[in-house]
Amino acid sequence: MSTLGFCNLGVSYDGVPAVVDFNDILYSGEWLCLIGPNGAGKSSVLRAAAGLVSYSGSVAIDQNEIPATSARWRARHIAYVPQSPVIPTDMIVHDYVLLGRNPYIKHFASESQNDRDVVERVLHRLDLTSFTKRPLGTLSGGEVQRLVIARALAQEAPVLFLDEPTSALDIGHQQQALELVDGLRREQGLTVVSAMHDLTLAGMYADRLVLMHQGRRVAEGTAQHVLRSETLAEFYGVTARVHHEPDGTVVVIPQRTPSL
């Protein structure tokens, strides 16, 4: 649906640079995954573009620069799923997904029928209809993750940011969540940017990987190109074997260093 461009994006916290000159262009429906060690600046790129931290440079959607002052405009174009969402345990599922409609509701107005219809469609699409009245505190980790994605979908934004979407999930729910995102981007042409630690999963789902280190991009391309043992050793300081499956999947297997 929409292209997403980063132009010289820079973030610094108290003068310490966290992201330096990040440039990229994503075509509509592309899935870009940011990888890199802790503190490399992956989350900062997402948080800056989502308007949560101030930044230099610009972010553009369909070549329109996002105005720095309008949180509403940004929220209509970028939906952001944080690493550890705040879950108000006594809120019910329906009301939580309805929060995603906020960018379309005038400040002091209430939801229109259209907003409710969108929420119903999203709940239906994500198989959450039977949960509608459940308080959030009664849901499991996998259900909560699906719910947060549901709220992001209710924003009807063409761009979806996922910050560590699977870090709190077991292997089965990891797969479910990522398959869900992949299915949605194919159906709706969502442009997806995610930050992930699991390199094998990152390589399996993303069209393109960008490896970051100390705020800079140090490698980019397909999983086969980026995930090499020497690259991982250099930037993660890890000893790992990279195994190529016949179907093209790249598997990263950490290895124990022999004790001295």
Binding site: P88, H94, N102, H107, E120, T132
Partner: protein, 355 residues
């Protein structure tokens, strides 16, 4: 099929909501009537509803209430009941709103220094007035207390946002603690030099509605209405802010502006009712929580129901405060805590076992 089921469910939710509002409204009306009927002097209690009917247009009932008796009801009890409505609703909705913007259930409307500022203002007035008969043109107490409250919160806000990181509320709350300590210290210093007013200041701090006049009502009404309307307008945004500053911002809410406006409105309301009624504790925390336990945590329900139930609660609490130690007054702050705390514990207990 599934779409049908969801709309059924949400329709039932709306019904539920209607009954809570209806129940709270009826409760408030009953409390106001009882509040008008009970008191140490004046006509027999059952004559008062008849007289009220009689005063409606087109209805004539012989209630047997004399003009002087009616005077007692209208000039002494009625302003007191109306003031209890205003004070109770304002403290409750302000407390609920503070809890919303700070996302902290233990917060009360006195958090940012309203109480200490108003207390300091009141102490200054009592000290200046002591020894001389009141020669002031108007009663300066509410005005100075109101001013003190606003200045204290303003200082808290300026200091808290100047030093704090841009979105941290912790600095703001800590600044409130510092300002409160400072104002309390100055108050203690003044009191030590004017020990003759300690009693007056102490009774002011415990809160009172006993000296309520229509003048008090007129004094605070504009501020209270403005504050309540602004807070009610923010009820949906407060729901969005329940997911935290970052996510609310990512959902398009200008978090800092909403917080500023809500805090200012709640402070304005609180400061004005504190100015006429002193520090009535407890209401601002307990009523919103009781509402949450009964009707759910959405601010769309919590804010308006806090207005209704807060008013009903304070009118009800004012009745024992008039008659318990007749002819003396029991401070209303004592009554709210004495009856409110056990009630709240009971509610907490029953709700926990039923869930």
């Amino acid at each position: 099929m599934s779409a049908l089921r969801t709309s059924d469910v949400s329709a039932r939710g709306t019904d539920h909501q209607f009954w809570w509002f209806a129940l709270s409204g009826v409760l408030l009306v009953c409390m106001v009537l009882v509040g008008l009927m009970i008191g140490p002097a004046g006509p027999t209690w059952w004559r008062i509803p008849l007289e009220l009917l009689n005063r409606l247009p087109l209805i004539s009932v012989d209630s047997g209430v004399s003009a002087s008796d009616w005077n007692i009801v209208w000039q002494i009890r009625a302003p007191r009941v109306v003031l209890a409505v205003i004070v109770g609703s304002t403290l409750s909705i302000s407390g609920a709103s503070y809890q919303g913007v700070f996302r902290n259930p233990l917060v009360d409307p006195y958090l940012l220094g309203v109480a200490a500022g108003a207390g300091l203002g009141a102490t200054v007035v009592f000290s200046l007035q002591s020894g001389e008969s009141s020669t002031w043109f108007i009663d300066p107490l509410p005005l100075i207390a109101f001013g003190g409250a606003l200045v204290a919160v303003l200082v808290t806000y300026l200091v808290g946002t100047a030093f704090g990181a841009n979105r941290s509320t912790t600095t703001l709350v800590l600044a409130g603690v510092a300002v409160t300590s400072l104002a309390t210290a100055i108050q203690a210093f003044i009191l030590q030099r004017n020990t003759d007013v300690v009693r007056q200041v102490y009774s002011w701090i415990l809160g009172r509605l006993s000296s309520a006049t229509w003048g008090d009502v007129r004094l605070v009404l504009p501020y209270v209405i403005a504050s309540t309307v602004v807070l009610l307008l923010h009820r949906r945004l407060l729901d969005v802010m329940r997911v935290g500053d970052d996510e609310a911002l990512a959902l398009g809410v200008n978090v800092r502006r909403v917080r500023l406006v809500v805090v200012l409105a709640a402070t304005l309301g609180t400061a004005s009712v504190v100015a006429v009624s002193g520090l009535i504790g407890f209401v601002g925390i307990i009523v919103p929580h009781a509402v949450r336990l009964l009707a759910g945590a959405s601010y769309r329900r919590v804010l308006p129901l806090s207005v209704l139930l807060g008013a009903a609660f304070l009118v009800a609490a004012d009745i024992p405060s008039r008659v318990l130690a007749n002819p003396a007054e029991t401070p209303i702050g004592v009554v709210t805590a004495f009856f409110g705390a056990p009630f709240f514990l009971l509610l907490l207990r029953t709700r926990q076992t039923s869930q």
